[in-house]
């Protein structure tokens, strides 16, 4: 991390821009789009990320600001994590009670393999799909894959593609689907709160916002569960990837491609 040499506080341009974005976004406020039995919640943070992206294409934001902003995300996320912490403390008895669920839902992060890997294989992607689907493909996973397979390997290209996708679209996507899923599915908001710890601070915040807004009466518990789950993922996430997710993805990929080629052969035979 090269944060120490950058003098981030001096980049007044980036702070002023963020200040303006926050003013505008918070003034627009929260809006709801009803969709069948559910709602999509449009929150200020969603406008903020979209305005931020679009400002990159104006003279207001230069390459330098964009670089500073990347490091500033890391520092600003610490405040969110601190907030998670102080909300989780008072909920300690509840967290202990829900401890088994909190630990076991970490395994649920493997859900990407069961949903996305078959889709990737069906779409005809080859070994790229291993890099793409073994995890949500954030920085630690990019490091893991490039360390194991090399940066220009198919697996490396795969994880980079999902990394870029998640970087640009992750927070927007999570912000849109979390409120919708929580309002249309029978799954409890507290279960979704636990699910927000997916290994990315900004995606977690984007997923959590709609939950807090849609279920204000459970706000404190939702934040406490989300905080505990984020903490659990930040500590265990990489190890789950190394020891469970990646071997499992390899195995399933091998099994699926074998089946697929067998099917093709038998089709040809008929």
């Amino acid at each position: 991390m090269t944060i120490e040499t950058q003098k981030l506080w001096k980049d007044w341009r980036v702070h002023a821009t963020v200040f303006a974005i926050v003013l505008l976004s918070e003034t627009i406020g929260t809006h709801e789009i009803p969709l069948g039995p559910g709602v999509i919640l449009l929150l200020p943070m969603l406008y903020a990320v979209i305005i931020g992206i679009s400002l990159f294409f104006t003279p207001l934001v230069k390459e330098k600001q964009s670089k500073s902003a990347e490091s500033l995300v890391f520092i600003s996320v610490t405040l969110l994590i601190a907030k998670f912490g102080v909300q989780a403390g008072p909920a300690l008895p509840l967290l202990i009670e829900a401890g088994p669920a909190l630990l076991l839902q970490e395994i649920g992060n493997l859900g990407t393999i069961f949903l996305a890997l078959p889709v990737a294989v069906l779409l005809g992607l080859k070994r790229e799909s291993i890099g793409m689907t073994h995890s949500i493909g954030r920085e630690p996973n990019v490091a893991l894959i490039t360390d194991k397979y090399g940066f220009s390997s198919p697996e490396g290209r795969g994880v980079m593609a999902v990394y870029i996708f998640g970087t640009v679209f992750g927070a927007i996507f999570m912000g849109l689907i979390s409120g919708l899923l929580a309002t249309v599915t029978p799954i409890h908001p507290l279960s979704f709160a636990m699910a927000t710890g997916i290994g990315s601070g900004s995606m977690a915040a984007a997923a959590l916002g709609p939950l807090v807004t849609a279920f204000p009466e459970m706000k404190d518990q939702i934040i406490a569960f989300s905080g505990a789950s984020n903490l659990a993922t930040s500590v265990t996430g990489l190890y789950v990837s190394i020891f469970i997710a990646l071997p499992l993805t390899e195995k399933l990929y091998g099994w699926m491609t074998k089946r697929k080629s067998k099917n093709m052969k038998s089709n040809v035979g008929v």
Partner: protein, 150 residues
Amino acid sequence: MLKNIQEWILVLGIIGVVVLIGNYIGYDILPITALPGMVILILISLAGLVIGKLVPLKIPSIAYIGILGFILTVPNMPGSDQIVKWTADVSLLAIATPILAYAGIGIGRSWADFAKLGWKTIVVGMCVLLGTFLGSAIIAEIVLRFQGII
């Protein structure tokens, strides 16, 4: 190290001011009311960043920050009630907005790469996020129901 701390204090201070104003516009909490909570959050972050730098383990600073905030506010910890009361005035959503504004500005640089991704990556990428999120939610739901918590 001292340079780092100075940098962190200044940056967290700037972000803190932005959060306080967003907190006022969006959630009607006066900056002066939310100031003590904001200062506490900044101090927790700062302490966690420093610990992360000092301890030679491969544990991310955010883990220390989360644990520290947690320990300070567990029931019966001296001063915990006051910390909980103060930090409650800083809305989570008000913290999230500037984070995502910075993220957005940072993301801009990746746009050219993003535009080059094929539609297959977009489809698979959405399945990755959906699968991770829904997978955890389903397991949490099963266990919480089994335990009778929800």
